[in-house]
Homo-oligomer: 292 residues x 2
């Protein structure tokens, strides 16, 4: 068994991006981060994005509307950023307060600035094998982890646990693409799946993204499989001073000895997400500065 070190791979990407950004003439890439309200997890995620941007040399513009903002007002803010030539990427941090419709908000971002890749157009482009858009950051991070760990999916059976819009569906579409490193056979399982262990045991590569702590046990994994754990779950733990520990969707102690490669939680997929956001921001910048 060998660990896939997400911290190390993310740091490599960040270093590469920093070197790329240093070479850019004139204005540096700029990412607008919109955070509505004070959800503690959102505060910490946005802070992490700001910090990584600064490290690379990407300008971040943090906008903090009140939790009372209406959808119409949020649309107006997005429209303004869509039209602003000094802004390359726009990210609206999820979750948004009720009754704002996230799908409509993400769709409102101009596709060429949708660096979080959650808009309808960019998702459609993933299905179309069209590289001109943005792949959402978690699935993009998973593909990058696999590529940089030397895992070629061609002809391999990839089983995805979870059919979310954020991970399950886009990663399945990426696995199916006719690109080097992809071309995998893909199965998507979820809460309604019958005989789940019989299916997951067929996986050459198992991607767990269901948000259920330590759900994947040794009996569900084929020896020699590559296991990617996308879950980040808080489990009560009296021994920790926070009162909880973080675990993935995989029961690491029993699955790790079976796996050929496995991502830890934390330190696996998580760090990749921010790195891929920065990569998308640089791509957005380049799309509008092509002639420069």
């Amino acid at each position: 068994m060998k660990l896939i070190d997400g911290n190390k791979i993310a740091a490599d990407i960040i270093a590469e991006l920093k070197a790329d950004v240093a070479l850019l003439p004139g204005r540096k890439p700029c990412l607008a981060l919109i955070r509505v309200g004070d959800d503690p997890a959102s505060v910490s995620y946005v802070k992490k994005k700001e910090k990584t941007a600064a490290e690379i040399g990407i300008i971040s513009r943090v906008i903090l509307p009140s939790v009372a903002i209406t959808q119409t007002e949020l649309f107006a803010l997005i429209d303004q950023l869509n039209a602003d030539p000094d802004v390359d990427g726009i990210l609206v941090q999820s979750p948004l307060p009720q009754p704002i419709d996230e799908l409509q908000v993400f769709r409102r971002i101009a596709p060429c600035k949708d660096v979080d890749g959650l808009g309808t157009m960019n998702l459609g482009k993933v299905a179309q094998d069209d590289d001109s858009g943005f792949i959402s950051c978690t699935p993009a991070g998973i593909m990058e982890l696999l590529a940089r760990s030397g895992v070629d999916l061609k002809g391999r059976h990839v089983v995805v646990l979870g059919r979310s819009l954020l991970v399950g569906k886009p990663v399945a579409l990426l696995v199916l693409q006719k690109k080097t490193g992809a071309n995998g056979t893909v199965t998507v399982c979820h809460s309604q799946t019958a005989n789940l262990p019989a299916i997951t045991r067929q996986a050459d590569v198992l991607i767990a993204a269901i948000g259920r702590a330590e759900f994947v046990t040794a009996a569900m994994v084929k020896p020699g499989a590559v296991v990617i754990d996308v879950g980040i779950n808080r489990v009560p733990d009296a021994a920790k001073k926070t009162g909880y520990r973080l675990t993935g969707d995989v029961h690491f102690p029993t699955v790790a000895p079976l796996a050929r490669l496995i991502t830890p939680v934390p330190g696996g997929v998580g760090p990749m997400t921010v790195a891929m956001l920065m990569k998308n921001t640089l791509k957005a910048y380049r799309l509008t500065h092509r002639g420069d």
Copy 2:
């Protein structure tokens, strides 16, 4: 074994649509059909669409640009139809002559008039479980055939043979939706898949869409499976006066006795495609005439 009679089901849908259209006040729904050049299959497909529209009471406006039309000129034509309030749906018949980029052409159609559902935005909406768009006609027809044959996919394993943009990927996304009748587990196989028969034999529902004549044999099918054959292949046959016969992707004589339900070719999925196009056209009309 029981046949799924696509001709009968399509005729039912057409009769329902005819009754719906008869009740509409004022201008009837209008579908613009653009056919570039004289490809014989395209001529016949567009004729069939025109005929079915007339049967229902949908106006069709057939536009026949020369095969020498440039992409820029085709875009201008689409823009004009996008802006025309008397046109509800726009279909550009595939294939288009080189070097026109079909993906860009389909994307140019306003999403609210893209009744063929091949534009990026409408494909993205399918991935997002968003009903406000248009599902492309062949996958929509497959889901309708299954629903009207009493097949509930919930928890069943659906194996899709083929990862095309026209069938394989959108039908896989439809199977995964959290909708009544859907909620299936889905596997997508293709030319790179290893151990294909071992995977297809797991299918409760097998959807063959690879364009290889009689590729699916009895050894690849689990007894009692539902088999949907999307292929339409021409096989040389000296006994026919045309010199060929039509066959699907399934070897019907040996697979049919095993299957619980199976679609024939022709007369299975084929007739559904045109019916679903008409259904989408009526939906497009209703989207713009909501207040009427």
